[in-house]
């Protein structure tokens, strides 16, 4: 090795370049598919009381395909997706193997009560303990929708506004125990 300092400098340069590449590759995940949906993990147990006093517990959800929708009253995309959610719920509310739960992400209880009444939301909405449920699902925004198969696996869902067609596709997949992504 005739010029050791040159080799040392080259080594330092290579290491710094490798570090830069590593940082670039390690960039934050930006995806509209929540992590729990991508990994098809088991659905976290939901034990809560809805704002109108109904009880939600894992026993009532067991064996059903169900939808969990995280929302806020002040969130514009949440308001925009409400017509699709209402149509979807109306089409399946009487299905014995179906359930749907709304979970408030970051809101005031009075604002939520008013929102539910004014928007005529018929599905159960959870406020107390919603932070815990959001943490268990690993939510990162709103609206965020998860669809769970009858065996308790999170199979489909998305962060962002959901369409009626997407909800129907996800429910069909969940009933068959298929994963969407």
């Amino acid at each position: 090795m005739r010029r050791p300092t040159r080799w040392v400098a080259l080594g330092v340069g290579v290491i710094i370049a490798a570090f830069g590449v590593l940082l670039a590759v390690q960039g934050r995940e930006e995806t509209s598919v929540p992590r729990l949906v991508r990994e098809h993990g088991p659905a976290p147990a939901i034990r809560a009381t809805t704002i109108d006093g109904r009880t939600v517990d894992p026993a009532r959800l067991a064996g059903r395909a169900y939808v969990v929708n995280f929302f806020n009253s002040w969130c514009i995309p949440c308001i925009d997706e409400l017509p699709a959610l209402r149509e979807f719920y109306a089409a399946h509310a009487d299905d014995p193997d179906f359930a749907m739960i709304g979970v408030v992400r970051d809101d005031e209880v009075d604002a939520v009560r008013t929102f539910v009444r004014e928007q005529r939301i018929p599905w159960p909405v959870v406020f107390e303990g919603a932070d815990r449920i959001g943490l268990d699902f690993g939510t990162t925004g709103q609206p965020e929708t998860y669809v769970v198969s009858p065996d308790g696996t999170v199979v489909c869902g998305a962060l962002g506004e959901s369409s009626r067609a997407a909800l129907e596709t996800w429910l069909d997949a969940a009933r068959l125990g298929k994963e969407c992504v």
Binding site: P4, T5, V8, A9, G11, V12, I15, I16, A18, F19, L22, Q26, R28, E29, R35, L36, R105, D106, D131, R132, G134, L135, G138, T139, T140, G141
Partner: protein, 162 residues
């Protein structure tokens, strides 16, 4: 001073430099206090180590996002349940990914982030040592026969003039 003496003194200087460096590092390590294992201290430390998953660079201690609030409520429960700091960090990584750790993990790719600066430092130090050794090996000017003859002639001439 002979070349052997100069070499000996240089070696002593390097040994002294090494001793001073090791001593300084020892004092630094001795002065750094061991983190407390008290539950409240662990909760505070973990709140500062876990990033708010929906914020940019804020810890859950600093953020008021719902996820940060939920994690702040969750950490004391996990500490009370007897989970270790590593287990608690791993639980949030499982939910939100590696980005939820403000300091890189001590394994996998995170280990690279810790090791790279040390490698660069070691290579830089090696470079300095190599450079200093090369500079110290530069041959000093030694008078050849012609130079000696020229100087002698000049001295003789100066002697004749005086």
């Amino acid at each position: 001073m002979s070349a052997a003496e100069r070499g000996g003194r240089r070696r002593v200087a390097w040994v002294l430099l090494g001793l001073v460096t090791v001593g300084a590092l020892g004092v630094l390590v001795a002065r750094s206090t061991r983190p407390s294992d008290a539950p409240a201290a662990r909760v505070t430390r973990l709140e500062q180590q876990i990033a708010c998953p929906v914020c940019d660079g804020q810890s859950v201690a600093e953020s008021n996002a719902p996820e940060a609030r939920a994690i702040r409520d969750d950490i004391p429960e996990r500490v009370a349940d007897g989970q270790t700091d590593a287990e608690i960090r791993a639980a949030y990584v499982a939910r939100y990914g590696d980005g939820v750790l403000l300091a890189p993990a001590g394994s996998g790719l995170g280990l690279v982030a810790w090791a790279l600066p040390l490698c660069v430092l070691a290579l830089g130090g090696l470079g300095v040592v190599v450079a200093v050794r090369r500079w110290s090996r530069v041959t000093r000017l030694v008078p050849d026969a012609d130079d000696v003859a020229t100087v002698e002639a000049a001295r003789r001439e100066a002697g004749e003039q005086s």
